[in-house]
Protein backbone atom coordinates (compact mmCIF):
# COMPACT_ATOMS: atom_id res chain seq x y z
CA UNK A 1 0.00 0.00 0.00
CA UNK A 2 2.93 2.35 0.58
CA UNK A 3 3.40 2.09 -3.16
CA UNK A 4 0.06 3.83 -3.58
CA UNK A 5 1.11 6.55 -1.17
CA UNK A 6 4.25 7.05 -3.26
CA UNK A 7 2.18 7.08 -6.44
CA UNK A 8 -0.12 9.76 -5.02
CA UNK A 9 2.87 11.76 -3.84
CA UNK A 10 4.14 11.59 -7.43
CA UNK A 11 0.72 12.62 -8.76
CA UNK A 12 0.54 15.69 -6.56
CA UNK A 13 4.14 16.74 -7.08
CA UNK A 14 3.97 20.10 -8.89
CA UNK A 15 7.12 19.21 -10.85
CA UNK A 16 5.16 16.54 -12.73
CA UNK A 17 2.53 19.01 -13.85
CA UNK A 18 4.76 21.32 -15.89
CA UNK A 19 6.35 21.27 -19.31
CA UNK A 20 5.94 19.11 -22.40
CA UNK A 21 6.46 15.95 -20.30
CA UNK A 22 3.98 17.08 -17.68
CA UNK A 23 0.71 15.42 -16.82
CA UNK A 24 -1.51 18.03 -18.58
CA UNK A 25 0.42 17.80 -21.88
CA UNK A 26 0.50 14.00 -21.84
CA UNK A 27 -3.21 13.90 -21.06
CA UNK A 28 -3.90 16.30 -23.92
CA UNK A 29 -1.87 14.11 -26.31
CA UNK A 30 -3.78 11.08 -25.11
CA UNK A 31 -7.11 12.81 -25.70
CA UNK A 32 -6.06 14.04 -29.15
CA UNK A 33 -5.15 10.47 -30.21
CA UNK A 34 -8.49 9.30 -28.87
CA UNK A 35 -10.57 11.97 -30.62
CA UNK A 36 -8.79 11.63 -33.98
CA UNK A 37 -9.23 7.86 -33.86
CA UNK A 38 -12.90 8.09 -32.90
CA UNK A 39 -13.64 10.50 -35.75
CA UNK A 40 -11.88 8.24 -38.28
CA UNK A 41 -13.46 5.06 -36.93
CA UNK A 42 -16.83 6.77 -36.48
CA UNK A 43 -17.08 7.71 -40.14
CA UNK A 44 -16.52 4.09 -41.16
CA UNK A 45 -18.26 2.26 -38.31
CA UNK A 46 -21.41 4.35 -38.06
CA UNK A 47 -21.88 4.59 -41.83
CA UNK A 48 -21.54 0.83 -42.33
CA UNK A 49 -23.69 0.22 -39.24
CA UNK A 50 -26.46 2.45 -40.60
CA UNK A 51 -26.34 0.66 -43.94
CA UNK A 52 -26.58 -2.76 -42.31
CA UNK A 53 -29.25 -1.66 -39.85
CA UNK A 54 -31.39 0.04 -42.47
CA UNK A 55 -31.15 -2.56 -45.22
CA UNK A 56 -30.69 -5.65 -43.08
CA UNK A 57 -28.05 -6.75 -45.59
CA UNK A 58 -24.61 -8.04 -44.59
CA UNK A 59 -25.69 -8.54 -40.99
CA UNK A 60 -24.04 -11.95 -40.81
CA UNK A 61 -20.82 -10.53 -42.20
CA UNK A 62 -20.89 -7.70 -39.65
CA UNK A 63 -21.32 -10.12 -36.75
CA UNK A 64 -18.45 -12.21 -38.08
CA UNK A 65 -16.16 -9.21 -38.56
CA UNK A 66 -16.90 -7.65 -35.19
CA UNK A 67 -16.41 -11.00 -33.50
CA UNK A 68 -13.16 -11.89 -35.19
CA UNK A 69 -11.64 -8.42 -34.83
CA UNK A 70 -12.02 -8.80 -31.09
CA UNK A 71 -9.62 -11.74 -31.12
CA UNK A 72 -6.99 -9.77 -32.98
CA UNK A 73 -4.16 -8.90 -30.56
CA UNK A 74 -3.86 -5.12 -30.73
CA UNK A 75 -0.31 -5.14 -29.45
CA UNK A 76 0.89 -7.34 -32.31
CA UNK A 77 -1.07 -5.36 -34.88
CA UNK A 78 0.36 -2.10 -33.56
CA UNK A 79 3.95 -3.30 -33.77
CA UNK A 80 3.39 -4.82 -37.20
CA UNK A 81 2.02 -1.56 -38.59
CA UNK A 82 4.82 0.35 -36.90
CA UNK A 83 7.38 -1.77 -38.77
CA UNK A 84 5.55 -1.43 -42.07
CA UNK A 85 4.71 2.27 -41.92
CA UNK A 86 7.51 3.52 -39.70
CA UNK A 87 7.08 4.66 -36.13
CA UNK A 88 4.72 7.60 -36.11
CA UNK A 89 1.18 8.58 -35.48
CA UNK A 90 -0.26 6.87 -38.59
CA UNK A 91 0.16 3.25 -37.47
CA UNK A 92 -1.17 4.13 -34.01
CA UNK A 93 -4.31 5.77 -35.40
CA UNK A 94 -4.92 2.91 -37.86
CA UNK A 95 -4.64 0.24 -35.20
CA UNK A 96 -6.74 2.15 -32.68
CA UNK A 97 -9.37 2.68 -35.39
CA UNK A 98 -9.42 -1.05 -36.17
CA UNK A 99 -10.16 -1.53 -32.48
CA UNK A 100 -12.85 1.15 -32.39
CA UNK A 101 -14.82 0.14 -35.49
CA UNK A 102 -16.49 -3.06 -34.15
CA UNK A 103 -18.26 -1.46 -31.14
CA UNK A 104 -19.34 1.50 -33.30
CA UNK A 105 -20.66 -0.80 -36.00
CA UNK A 106 -22.40 -3.14 -33.57
CA UNK A 107 -23.94 -0.27 -31.57
CA UNK A 108 -25.31 1.33 -34.72
CA UNK A 109 -26.86 -1.69 -36.35
CA UNK A 110 -28.15 -3.11 -33.08
CA UNK A 111 -29.69 0.29 -32.32
CA UNK A 112 -31.65 0.25 -35.56
CA UNK A 113 -32.47 -3.43 -35.21
CA UNK A 114 -34.02 -2.81 -31.77
CA UNK A 115 -36.60 -0.41 -33.24
CA UNK A 116 -40.09 -1.90 -33.58
CA UNK A 117 -40.62 -2.88 -37.22
CA UNK A 118 -44.11 -1.38 -37.10
CA UNK A 119 -42.61 2.06 -36.35
CA UNK A 120 -40.49 1.94 -39.48
CA UNK A 121 -43.35 0.50 -41.54
CA UNK A 122 -45.60 3.34 -40.34
CA UNK A 123 -43.02 5.90 -41.42
CA UNK A 124 -42.86 4.25 -44.83
CA UNK A 125 -46.64 4.13 -45.07
CA UNK A 126 -46.79 7.86 -44.32
CA UNK A 127 -44.75 8.40 -47.46
CA UNK A 128 -41.33 9.08 -46.00
CA UNK A 129 -38.44 8.36 -48.34
CA UNK A 130 -35.78 5.86 -47.23
CA UNK A 131 -33.43 8.74 -46.40
CA UNK A 132 -36.11 10.43 -44.31
CA UNK A 133 -36.79 7.19 -42.47
CA UNK A 134 -33.10 6.86 -41.73
CA UNK A 135 -32.61 10.47 -40.66
CA UNK A 136 -35.86 11.15 -38.81
CA UNK A 137 -36.87 7.78 -37.43
CA UNK A 138 -34.04 5.28 -37.27
CA UNK A 139 -31.12 7.48 -36.23
CA UNK A 140 -32.99 9.35 -33.46
CA UNK A 141 -34.43 6.12 -32.04
CA UNK A 142 -31.11 4.28 -32.33
CA UNK A 143 -29.15 7.19 -30.84
CA UNK A 144 -28.79 5.81 -27.28
CA UNK A 145 -27.25 2.58 -28.58
CA UNK A 146 -25.09 4.42 -31.11
CA UNK A 147 -23.70 6.57 -28.30
CA UNK A 148 -23.24 3.41 -26.25
CA UNK A 149 -21.12 2.03 -29.10
CA UNK A 150 -19.07 5.24 -29.20
CA UNK A 151 -18.64 4.92 -25.44
CA UNK A 152 -17.18 1.40 -25.64
CA UNK A 153 -15.00 2.46 -28.56
CA UNK A 154 -13.69 5.47 -26.63
CA UNK A 155 -12.81 3.29 -23.63
CA UNK A 156 -10.96 0.76 -25.76
CA UNK A 157 -9.06 3.53 -27.50
CA UNK A 158 -8.09 5.28 -24.25
CA UNK A 159 -6.85 1.99 -22.78
CA UNK A 160 -4.92 1.01 -25.88
CA UNK A 161 -3.45 4.44 -26.58
CA UNK A 162 -1.52 3.79 -23.36
CA UNK A 163 0.17 0.83 -25.01
CA UNK A 164 0.96 2.96 -28.07
CA UNK A 165 3.46 4.88 -25.95
CA UNK A 166 5.68 1.79 -26.05
CA UNK A 167 6.55 3.08 -29.49
CA UNK A 168 8.21 6.32 -28.53
CA UNK A 169 5.16 8.51 -29.02
CA UNK A 170 3.29 10.75 -26.61
CA UNK A 171 0.33 10.02 -24.43
CA UNK A 172 -0.12 8.91 -20.86
CA UNK A 173 1.56 5.57 -21.47
CA UNK A 174 4.87 7.42 -21.50
CA UNK A 175 4.76 7.71 -17.72
CA UNK A 176 4.43 3.94 -17.55
CA UNK A 177 7.08 2.94 -20.08
CA UNK A 178 9.63 5.66 -19.36
CA UNK A 179 9.67 4.65 -15.72
CA UNK A 180 9.16 0.90 -16.00
CA UNK A 181 12.76 0.18 -16.94
CA UNK A 182 13.98 2.61 -14.26
CA UNK A 183 11.84 0.75 -11.68
CA UNK A 184 10.36 4.05 -10.59
CA UNK A 185 7.14 2.44 -9.47
CA UNK A 186 5.63 5.65 -8.04
CA UNK A 187 5.57 7.18 -11.52
CA UNK A 188 4.50 3.93 -13.22
CA UNK A 189 1.53 3.47 -10.92
CA UNK A 190 0.82 7.21 -10.92
CA UNK A 191 0.60 7.06 -14.72
CA UNK A 192 -1.64 4.01 -14.55
CA UNK A 193 -3.91 5.84 -12.11
CA UNK A 194 -4.23 8.87 -14.43
CA UNK A 195 -5.24 6.63 -17.35
CA UNK A 196 -7.84 4.93 -15.18
CA UNK A 197 -9.25 8.23 -13.93
CA UNK A 198 -9.37 9.57 -17.49
CA UNK A 199 -11.23 6.44 -18.64
CA UNK A 200 -13.71 6.78 -15.77
CA UNK A 201 -14.36 10.46 -16.50
CA UNK A 202 -14.89 9.85 -20.22
CA UNK A 203 -17.13 6.88 -19.45
CA UNK A 204 -19.19 9.00 -17.06
CA UNK A 205 -19.57 11.79 -19.63
CA UNK A 206 -20.78 9.29 -22.23
CA UNK A 207 -23.21 7.80 -19.73
CA UNK A 208 -24.76 11.24 -19.31
CA UNK A 209 -24.76 11.79 -23.07
CA UNK A 210 -26.50 8.45 -23.61
CA UNK A 211 -29.32 9.56 -21.37
CA UNK A 212 -29.66 12.95 -23.03
CA UNK A 213 -29.90 11.63 -26.60
CA UNK A 214 -33.17 9.78 -26.04
CA UNK A 215 -35.45 11.42 -28.61
CA UNK A 216 -38.02 13.95 -27.43
CA UNK A 217 -41.01 11.90 -28.54
CA UNK A 218 -39.80 8.79 -26.76
CA UNK A 219 -39.10 10.72 -23.59
CA UNK A 220 -42.56 12.31 -23.69
CA UNK A 221 -44.24 8.94 -24.20
CA UNK A 222 -42.18 7.46 -21.41
CA UNK A 223 -42.96 10.21 -18.91
CA UNK A 224 -46.65 9.72 -19.61
CA UNK A 225 -46.09 6.00 -19.19
CA UNK A 226 -47.79 5.26 -22.48
CA UNK A 227 -47.72 2.14 -24.53
CA UNK A 228 -45.62 -0.95 -24.81
CA UNK A 229 -43.16 0.62 -27.21
CA UNK A 230 -42.22 3.22 -24.62
CA UNK A 231 -41.44 0.60 -22.01
CA UNK A 232 -39.41 -1.37 -24.53
CA UNK A 233 -37.33 1.64 -25.43
CA UNK A 234 -36.80 2.27 -21.79
CA UNK A 235 -35.35 -1.17 -21.23
CA UNK A 236 -33.04 -0.76 -24.20
CA UNK A 237 -31.90 2.63 -22.95
CA UNK A 238 -31.31 1.29 -19.46
CA UNK A 239 -29.37 -1.64 -20.84
CA UNK A 240 -27.23 0.64 -22.89
CA UNK A 241 -26.44 2.77 -19.85
Amino acid sequence: MSLFAAAFAWLFDAANWAGSNGIPMRTLEHLIYTVVTLIAAGIVGVAVGLYIGHTGKLRGAAVLVTGSLRALPTLGLLFLFALWLGIGLTPVIIVLAVLAVPPLLAGTYAGIEAIERSTIDSARAMGMTEWQILARVEIPLAMPLIVSGVRSAALQVIATATIAAYLPLGGLGRFVFDNLSLRRWDAVIGGAIIVTVLALIVDGLFALLERSVVSKGVRAARSRGLGEAATKRKSVAVDAA
Binding site: G67, G76, S152, V176, A192, T196
Partner: protein, 227 residues
Protein backbone atom coordinates in the same frame (compact mmCIF):
# COMPACT_ATOMS: atom_id res chain seq x y z
CA UNK B 1 8.05 -18.96 -43.33
CA UNK B 2 11.40 -20.66 -42.79
CA UNK B 3 11.76 -18.64 -39.59
CA UNK B 4 8.49 -20.09 -38.33
CA UNK B 5 9.65 -23.63 -39.11
CA UNK B 6 13.04 -23.06 -37.48
CA UNK B 7 11.52 -21.54 -34.37
CA UNK B 8 8.44 -23.70 -34.14
CA UNK B 9 9.46 -25.13 -30.77
CA UNK B 10 9.61 -21.67 -29.23
CA UNK B 11 6.32 -20.56 -30.80
CA UNK B 12 4.65 -23.74 -29.55
CA UNK B 13 5.99 -23.22 -26.04
CA UNK B 14 4.80 -19.60 -25.97
CA UNK B 15 1.43 -20.74 -27.32
CA UNK B 16 1.10 -23.20 -24.43
CA UNK B 17 2.07 -20.47 -21.95
CA UNK B 18 -0.52 -18.21 -23.55
CA UNK B 19 -3.20 -20.90 -23.25
CA UNK B 20 -2.16 -21.53 -19.66
CA UNK B 21 -2.64 -17.86 -18.81
CA UNK B 22 -5.95 -17.62 -20.71
CA UNK B 23 -7.86 -20.62 -19.38
CA UNK B 24 -7.97 -19.78 -15.64
CA UNK B 25 -9.49 -16.29 -16.12
CA UNK B 26 -12.08 -17.60 -18.60
CA UNK B 27 -13.15 -20.45 -16.29
CA UNK B 28 -13.02 -18.35 -13.10
CA UNK B 29 -14.88 -15.54 -14.83
CA UNK B 30 -17.73 -17.89 -15.68
CA UNK B 31 -17.93 -19.50 -12.25
CA UNK B 32 -17.99 -16.14 -10.47
CA UNK B 33 -20.23 -14.30 -12.93
CA UNK B 34 -23.18 -16.71 -13.06
CA UNK B 35 -24.19 -16.27 -9.39
CA UNK B 36 -23.46 -12.52 -9.57
CA UNK B 37 -25.50 -12.26 -12.76
CA UNK B 38 -28.37 -14.16 -11.17
CA UNK B 39 -28.40 -11.84 -8.17
CA UNK B 40 -28.26 -8.85 -10.55
CA UNK B 41 -31.22 -10.24 -12.48
CA UNK B 42 -33.22 -11.12 -9.40
CA UNK B 43 -33.20 -7.83 -7.48
CA UNK B 44 -33.53 -4.40 -9.12
CA UNK B 45 -31.24 -2.68 -6.60
CA UNK B 46 -28.45 -5.24 -6.94
CA UNK B 47 -28.85 -5.06 -10.72
CA UNK B 48 -27.95 -1.39 -10.90
CA UNK B 49 -25.17 -1.75 -8.34
CA UNK B 50 -23.58 -4.87 -9.87
CA UNK B 51 -23.85 -3.66 -13.45
CA UNK B 52 -22.43 -0.26 -12.55
CA UNK B 53 -19.50 -1.76 -10.65
CA UNK B 54 -18.72 -4.29 -13.37
CA UNK B 55 -19.00 -1.54 -15.97
CA UNK B 56 -16.51 0.56 -14.01
CA UNK B 57 -14.12 -2.39 -13.66
CA UNK B 58 -14.15 -2.79 -17.42
CA UNK B 59 -13.07 0.82 -17.90
CA UNK B 60 -9.73 0.22 -16.13
CA UNK B 61 -7.11 -0.06 -18.86
CA UNK B 62 -5.41 -3.46 -18.84
CA UNK B 63 -1.90 -2.10 -18.56
CA UNK B 64 -2.91 -0.04 -15.53
CA UNK B 65 -4.48 -3.05 -13.91
CA UNK B 66 -1.43 -5.26 -14.50
CA UNK B 67 0.73 -2.61 -12.86
CA UNK B 68 -1.49 -1.67 -9.94
CA UNK B 69 -2.49 -5.19 -8.89
CA UNK B 70 0.88 -6.16 -7.35
CA UNK B 71 0.51 -3.23 -4.95
CA UNK B 72 -2.91 -4.55 -3.92
CA UNK B 73 -2.22 -8.29 -3.97
CA UNK B 74 1.27 -8.10 -2.53
CA UNK B 75 2.62 -10.09 -5.48
CA UNK B 76 5.81 -9.24 -7.33
CA UNK B 77 5.57 -7.18 -10.52
CA UNK B 78 6.51 -10.14 -12.71
CA UNK B 79 4.14 -12.63 -11.14
CA UNK B 80 1.83 -14.19 -13.82
CA UNK B 81 -0.87 -14.14 -11.10
CA UNK B 82 -1.27 -10.39 -11.72
CA UNK B 83 -2.25 -11.07 -15.32
CA UNK B 84 -4.58 -13.92 -14.36
CA UNK B 85 -6.33 -11.85 -11.68
CA UNK B 86 -6.59 -8.83 -13.98
CA UNK B 87 -8.09 -10.92 -16.79
CA UNK B 88 -10.51 -12.56 -14.34
CA UNK B 89 -11.68 -9.09 -13.31
CA UNK B 90 -12.33 -8.24 -16.97
CA UNK B 91 -14.09 -11.54 -17.53
CA UNK B 92 -16.41 -10.79 -14.60
CA UNK B 93 -16.89 -7.21 -15.81
CA UNK B 94 -18.10 -8.48 -19.19
CA UNK B 95 -19.89 -11.59 -18.04
CA UNK B 96 -22.04 -10.35 -15.15
CA UNK B 97 -24.06 -8.28 -17.60
CA UNK B 98 -24.45 -11.23 -20.00
CA UNK B 99 -25.50 -13.52 -17.18
CA UNK B 100 -28.05 -10.98 -15.91
CA UNK B 101 -29.39 -10.54 -19.46
CA UNK B 102 -29.45 -14.31 -19.90
CA UNK B 103 -31.55 -14.89 -16.79
CA UNK B 104 -33.82 -11.97 -17.73
CA UNK B 105 -34.36 -13.53 -21.18
CA UNK B 106 -36.21 -16.45 -19.54
CA UNK B 107 -39.94 -15.76 -19.98
CA UNK B 108 -41.69 -15.11 -16.66
CA UNK B 109 -44.47 -17.46 -17.79
CA UNK B 110 -41.92 -20.26 -18.15
CA UNK B 111 -40.66 -19.57 -14.65
CA UNK B 112 -44.23 -19.62 -13.32
CA UNK B 113 -44.95 -22.88 -15.13
CA UNK B 114 -41.87 -24.43 -13.53
CA UNK B 115 -43.07 -23.31 -10.12
CA UNK B 116 -46.54 -24.65 -10.93
CA UNK B 117 -45.23 -28.12 -11.75
CA UNK B 118 -43.51 -28.16 -8.37
CA UNK B 119 -39.97 -26.88 -8.78
CA UNK B 120 -38.52 -25.20 -5.71
CA UNK B 121 -36.31 -22.11 -6.14
CA UNK B 122 -33.02 -24.05 -6.18
CA UNK B 123 -34.26 -26.85 -8.43
CA UNK B 124 -35.87 -24.37 -10.78
CA UNK B 125 -32.57 -22.52 -11.10
CA UNK B 126 -30.64 -25.61 -12.17
CA UNK B 127 -33.32 -27.32 -14.25
CA UNK B 128 -35.07 -24.37 -15.89
CA UNK B 129 -33.46 -20.94 -15.57
CA UNK B 130 -29.81 -21.87 -16.10
CA UNK B 131 -30.43 -24.02 -19.21
CA UNK B 132 -32.75 -21.43 -20.76
CA UNK B 133 -30.26 -18.64 -20.05
CA UNK B 134 -27.61 -20.87 -21.66
CA UNK B 135 -27.51 -19.38 -25.19
CA UNK B 136 -26.92 -15.86 -23.85
CA UNK B 137 -24.31 -17.20 -21.40
CA UNK B 138 -22.48 -18.87 -24.29
CA UNK B 139 -22.65 -15.67 -26.34
CA UNK B 140 -21.14 -13.79 -23.40
CA UNK B 141 -18.42 -16.37 -22.85
CA UNK B 142 -17.41 -16.17 -26.51
CA UNK B 143 -16.78 -12.46 -26.06
CA UNK B 144 -14.91 -13.08 -22.80
CA UNK B 145 -12.77 -15.78 -24.40
CA UNK B 146 -11.80 -13.69 -27.45
CA UNK B 147 -10.94 -10.59 -25.44
CA UNK B 148 -8.97 -12.59 -22.84
CA UNK B 149 -6.89 -14.37 -25.46
CA UNK B 150 -6.07 -11.12 -27.25
CA UNK B 151 -5.39 -9.06 -24.11
CA UNK B 152 -3.05 -11.56 -22.42
CA UNK B 153 -0.26 -10.47 -24.76
CA UNK B 154 -0.26 -6.99 -23.18
CA UNK B 155 1.21 -8.70 -20.11
CA UNK B 156 4.42 -9.14 -22.07
CA UNK B 157 5.01 -5.39 -21.87
CA UNK B 158 5.55 -5.76 -18.14
CA UNK B 159 7.53 -8.96 -18.50
CA UNK B 160 4.92 -11.74 -18.14
CA UNK B 161 5.72 -14.03 -21.04
CA UNK B 162 3.12 -15.13 -23.60
CA UNK B 163 2.78 -14.87 -27.38
CA UNK B 164 3.17 -11.14 -26.75
CA UNK B 165 6.90 -11.85 -26.41
CA UNK B 166 7.00 -12.42 -30.18
CA UNK B 167 5.50 -8.96 -30.74
CA UNK B 168 8.09 -7.19 -28.61
CA UNK B 169 11.00 -9.25 -29.88
CA UNK B 170 9.83 -8.78 -33.45
CA UNK B 171 9.61 -5.02 -32.98
CA UNK B 172 13.04 -4.82 -31.39
CA UNK B 173 14.58 -6.90 -34.17
CA UNK B 174 12.56 -5.11 -36.87
CA UNK B 175 11.28 -8.49 -38.01
CA UNK B 176 7.59 -8.46 -39.10
CA UNK B 177 7.47 -12.23 -39.66
CA UNK B 178 7.90 -12.87 -35.95
CA UNK B 179 5.05 -10.47 -35.11
CA UNK B 180 2.82 -12.05 -37.76
CA UNK B 181 3.55 -15.49 -36.35
CA UNK B 182 2.44 -14.26 -32.92
CA UNK B 183 -0.75 -12.73 -34.33
CA UNK B 184 -1.63 -15.89 -36.24
CA UNK B 185 -0.96 -18.09 -33.19
CA UNK B 186 -3.16 -15.82 -31.04
CA UNK B 187 -5.99 -15.99 -33.57
CA UNK B 188 -5.66 -19.77 -33.78
CA UNK B 189 -6.03 -20.02 -29.98
CA UNK B 190 -9.03 -17.68 -30.06
CA UNK B 191 -10.71 -19.70 -32.82
CA UNK B 192 -10.07 -23.01 -31.06
CA UNK B 193 -11.53 -21.60 -27.81
CA UNK B 194 -14.52 -20.17 -29.69
CA UNK B 195 -15.28 -23.45 -31.43
CA UNK B 196 -14.90 -25.27 -28.11
CA UNK B 197 -17.41 -22.92 -26.45
CA UNK B 198 -19.92 -23.35 -29.27
CA UNK B 199 -19.53 -27.14 -29.13
CA UNK B 200 -19.91 -27.20 -25.34
CA UNK B 201 -23.05 -25.08 -25.78
CA UNK B 202 -24.51 -27.47 -28.36
CA UNK B 203 -23.63 -30.48 -26.29
CA UNK B 204 -25.26 -29.08 -23.15
CA UNK B 205 -28.17 -27.42 -24.94
CA UNK B 206 -29.22 -29.65 -27.83
CA UNK B 207 -32.51 -27.75 -28.24
CA UNK B 208 -30.77 -24.55 -29.39
CA UNK B 209 -29.64 -26.20 -32.62
CA UNK B 210 -33.04 -25.53 -34.19
CA UNK B 211 -32.62 -21.79 -33.74
CA UNK B 212 -33.06 -19.59 -30.70
CA UNK B 213 -35.96 -17.31 -29.94
CA UNK B 214 -35.93 -13.72 -31.08
CA UNK B 215 -35.74 -12.34 -27.57
CA UNK B 216 -32.66 -14.31 -26.73
CA UNK B 217 -31.06 -13.36 -29.99
CA UNK B 218 -31.66 -9.73 -29.06
CA UNK B 219 -30.11 -10.24 -25.67
CA UNK B 220 -27.13 -11.84 -27.37
CA UNK B 221 -26.83 -8.84 -29.69
CA UNK B 222 -26.86 -6.56 -26.68
CA UNK B 223 -24.04 -8.63 -25.24
CA UNK B 224 -22.03 -7.99 -28.38
CA UNK B 225 -22.74 -4.28 -28.16
CA UNK B 226 -21.93 -4.01 -24.47
CA UNK B 227 -18.55 -5.49 -25.20
Amino acid sequence: MSWVVANFAQIWELTLTHVGLSVPPIVLGFILSVPLGWVAHRYAVSRSILLTVSGLLYTIPSLSLFLVLPAILGTTQLDPANVVVAMTIYAIALMVRSAADGFSSVEPSVRQSATAVGYSGWGRFWAVELPLAGPVLVAGMRVVSASTVSLISVGSLIGVSSLGYLFIDGLNRQFPTEILAGIVATIVIAVVFDVALVLIGRLLMPWTRSGAQVKRRRAATRTEVAA
